[in-house]
Symmetry: C2
Subunit: 334 residues, 2 copies
């Protein structure tokens, strides 16, 4: 039986390139006692993977010559492991490959939920929990406050804005195309959306946030952060989820020159990583599913068929051409 996988062969300089990955075929060995074989069904692709390719951060870098790290959902095809049976749906860091030989560690059986498989990535999992805990725990939104979200049409940002609406905030998104902005305001209920490629962000914030900004959910960093900082209210909050503007810089971009605003407006700027909230995922899952069922929380998947196209799909994250959560359909669900 044959497995295909993408190996990381070079650390990215600037934008990741297709040539940073190499396609490998290998024969899957027979299962030893205590092992199971998982067939990957859907692989999640995320901006954070750029960091995993490059260097040690909150997790060690992917070693060159090994399979690229990635979270995926799969089905147990064969099992010599007492906790897993053939047909079980599981989730874990299966990697960019078709089959994953596992001893069960780090693998979780999917809890039964009234949502399609794709919702595990688009609504729940690290995407949904990042939006949920980042906004609610660090952002502490209150009804009537103004929430600004950057990368607002992204997987996390689009959920953040909708949760902000559920909590009674005025929600303004920043995104990179008119189509994305339309989606935010016309389908997701954002109060306004700013196309940062065609509009003057400073003026647009002034217009769309007449009472200033109480929460800035930060996915971008760089110049966007600098501009939004000048609109923050006293005692405002900046949950720092990502800084994608800097991920592909070969030289670190200078930070905002106006950090003094943090003092003037007593701003709380705080970074987080979703895994810090793992122990509370049941609580988030329950609310996210309920909001989705009530029609208050939508998600969108950007699905690429076939593992062989994974690097191409991954690059969409950095040119802004994806619409929704980027996933690869590795094999059929059933």
């Amino acid at each position: 039986m044959v497995n295909h996988k993408w190996i990381l062969v070079a650390r990215p300089e600037g934008l990741p390139k297709l040539s940073d990955f190499a396609w490998r075929e290998e024969t899957i060995p027979a299962l030893a006692q205590g092992q199971l074989l998982v067939r990957s069904v859907m692989l999640s692709l995320d901006p954070a993977m750029r960091g995993w390719m490059a260097r040690d951060t909150y997790v060690p870098a992917v070693e060159l010559g090994t399979v690229m790290r990635g979270g995926a959902i799969g089905v147990v095809e064969a099992s010599n492991h007492c906790d897993f049976a053939v047909g079980d749906q599981v989730q874990g860091l299966l990697g960019w490959q078709e089959y994953f030989l596992s001893d069960g560690k780090g693998l979780a059986k999917l809890p039964a939920l009234p949502v399609p498989l794709g919702a595990r990535f688009g609504l729940l999992g690290h995407i949904g929990f990042t939006a949920y805990f980042g906004l609610l725990e660090l952002g502490q939104p209150k009804a009537g406050e103004t929430l600004v979200v950057s990368a607002a049409a992204g997987a996390v940002g689009s959920l953040v804005g909708q949760i902000g609406k559920i909590k009674g905030c005025r929600v303004v998104g920043i995104a990179g195309s008119d189509a994305k902005c339309d989606w935010l305001t016309k389908e997701l209920g954002f109060d306004a959306a700013i196309n940062y490629r065609t509009e003057n962000l400073h003026k647009a914030l002034k217009t769309n946030c007449p009472k200033g900004v109480d929460i800035y959910f930060e996915n971008v960093g760089g110049k966007t952060l600098e501009t939004v900082l000048n609109h923050m209210n006293d005692f405002s909050r900046i949950p720092v989820c990502g800084m994608i503007a800097g991920y592909n810089q070969t030289e670190p971009e200078p930070g905002p020159g106006n950090l003094f605003q943090i003092i003037v407006h007593r701003i709380k700027m705080q970074g987080f990583i979703v895994t810090d909230f793992l122990s509370r995922s049941a609580e988030a899952r329950q609310e996210l599913v309920a909001w989705h069922a009530a029609g208050q929380l939508q998600y969108r998947l950007d699905v690429t068929e076939g593992l062989s196209n994974a690097p191409t799909a991954f690059l969409k994250l950095f040119d802004g051409s994806n619409l929704g959560k980027v996933v690869v359909q590795v094999s059929a669900e059933n």
Copy 2:
């Protein structure tokens, strides 16, 4: 009866200059009903005044042509006000002047305390409360943690480090001369002090903070912040008290290029202004006085005699030549 005062006549570009101020003499009018006349005894000079001279921030800028704003302690010389009697010691924004004609608003009678007058500025008041609430509320120090303080030989920084020691932290100060560093380690009990003018800050932090940094009390900003960010531990805190490195820049200096560390290490960076904690000043006063009485908390005053020298004394704050809290002795205490 004659009053002398310093008028703000120009907004600073870069470093404040003596010519930004003009010396004025005026006759003090007779007291109306409900007014009192305060003779200034001791005037506090602080880095934040650079901001007051330049632009609206958390308080409006000082208007050109009016007396320069400043906190001072004085004695009531004459009173037509039922709440104040001749001889009362009072504190308030008396300004850079010898006499202050007041209707009583914003003026507080000094509570009786077993400390010399100078302690009202060096140990208590906005200096002491800034150190106290900034470190304890935002920094949340725990025994065994490592605290780094920039501008550590300054009025606030020197208190912050000593309070850190009281709370059981390893305390490392950053200061601008060997004499200041010696004072920190030999007299104030800091575990280590780094002379940023002669040492490589990155290497010195590595040596002196072997377990990383849990709290960075930020008075400086700029390159210092960037360097310390690379040493912060997971879930560390950065109370942002000041960013003096940028106060005299004509062009805003770029911020740190490594703000991504905020995510990697889940750092909480939070600005504050001491007046936000006004309602809790009794609590701070009590502890600060008790620590001082127990010999655990020292302060040092840098006293300049005579209001006419106020601008010269003020400039010391920006060339690092002051040793301790800068004040002007405007008149004799009794």
